[in-house]
Symmetry: C2
Subunit: 239 residues, 2 copies
DNA sequence: TAGTGGTCTAGACCACTCT
DNA sequence: GAGTGGTCTAGACCACTAC
């Protein structure tokens, strides 16, 4: 086999995506319909979709609900060790941030308790948010905050920086204990809330946050679209 | 649509993978043939493969060449900010490491030069290696070392820790300047050398290394199988 | 050589979005 | 209501692996 035909289609599409040819990508960044593309390449939808899946894996295109395939915007550069708020670093990169609060409740969450070194049935304030860059939903996150650190927190608004709130209102000095990152396939509520198909590639980032006295404050679980971010950690020189 | 059938197949397979039922997974961790599985689920290979692709995205199974589908082993925990050698941290987790040197040469590499703040046509020692965990190839990497920092480096052996070599023979004190991580689809040589299909999900990790006097030493580009690792960064408390 | 995964065809119906 | 992506069928041939 010289080369699979779908790889040829992939290469051709990758090329045209780098141009702004309106024959291939309209003004909204949308590609032609799958049937249309299949015709142009004189193949079937199955084969054409293999090529699209490749480009999706490369983070070049993505699909939104059943609306079609779109060119993916530039990845957001994200340093999970920095405590700059989402809104700040998105704006710093010339993009438009937005945060939606999906739910607020009180509940236990054993993984959070374990990460923070608390008993498994520890009760947390649970805040769930969806965050957008340029009006594209790029992540959903769940925050579990230890109530003792921020009594009455749930009366606040959460569509801006939680860290700023904790610092200013509860005078907490926050720092990371650990961060873990693992690739995942977005499932269930995570996929639904991001408007993507179950199984879409994602990145799961979990952070454990302590205060200045090393007391547990918060556990944070983020589910990102894999093509929405590029992680970059700048390290201080030690020794 | 209540639920797509392939998602039902996915769920069922996910369940049996958690058991050690030899009706589904043989002693080598291999699943039955696709045609066999399709028959058991009374569906076609296309639909069955959708389910397998889901589980592959979740990092639960993977394919090796054309040999079939295998249960993926536990992810390796990896802290890219630590300077512990690959061999050390793999063994610390009770696994068996192995390193293969694929090529050694002298060449320029503009991305490395840029990251290290050198002129684009800077010449580097280029070392390419493939690394295994329990005899599964999990990453390929390219190292670009600034020759001035380690003259004569290419006469050494590279199947063990490069850092140890640089420390002991050239007396370099090494530290990270930056680390970047981005999801990718493994392509070309990277995919071939890992024995996976083009487009397989991967993780690209790039590191910039300086010496104690902040002089550029090395640029490191790693391509991992996405299901082979879990990144975990433990942070020192600052302030 | 037999069996496997990799690729591909030529259709079909459904659920959802858009207008 | 038209068009789209999502799902599915029932086959086929090829290249490669394992024996």
């Amino acid at each position: 086999m010289a080369e699979a035909y779908y790889l040829h289609v992939t290469d051709k599409l990758r090329d045209v995506l780098l141009t702004d040819d309106t024959a291939w990508v309209n003004d909204n960044g949308k590609l032609p319909a799958e049937r249309e593309l299949a015709q142009r390449f004189e193949t079937t939808r199955v084969t054409l979709r293999q090529a699209l899946a490749q480009l999706e894996g490369e983070g070049r295109i993505h699909r939104s609900n059943r609306r079609g395939w779109f060119v993916s915007p530039k990845r957001l550069e994200y340093d999970p060790t920095r405590d700059a708020g989402f809104n700040d670093y998105v704006r710093d990169q010339g993009r438009l941030p937005r945060t939606e609060v999906l739910s607020v409740s009180t509940s236990s969450h054993p993984p959070a308790a374990k990460a923070l070194g608390l008993v498994a049935d520890q009760t947390f304030y649970h805040i769930r948010r969806r965050r957008y860059v340029d009006e594209r939903a790029v992540l959903v996150e769940s925050l579990w905050v230890v109530p003792e650190r921020a009594p009455g927190l749930l009366d606040e608004r959460f569509d801006f920086s939680l860290w700023k709130l904790l610092r200013e209102k509860w005078n907490l000095r926050l720092s990371h204990r650990s961060i873990s990152m693992v690739s995942e396939a977005l499932q269930g509520a995570d996929a639904r809330e991001l408007g993507v198909a179950a199984g879409t590639a994602g990145l799961n980032i979990c952070r454990t946050i302590l205060d200045g006295d090393q007391r547990p404050v918060e556990y944070d679980e983020e589910h990102w679209l894999h093509d929405a971010l590029s992680i970059r950690v700048e390290l201080k020189q030690h020794r």
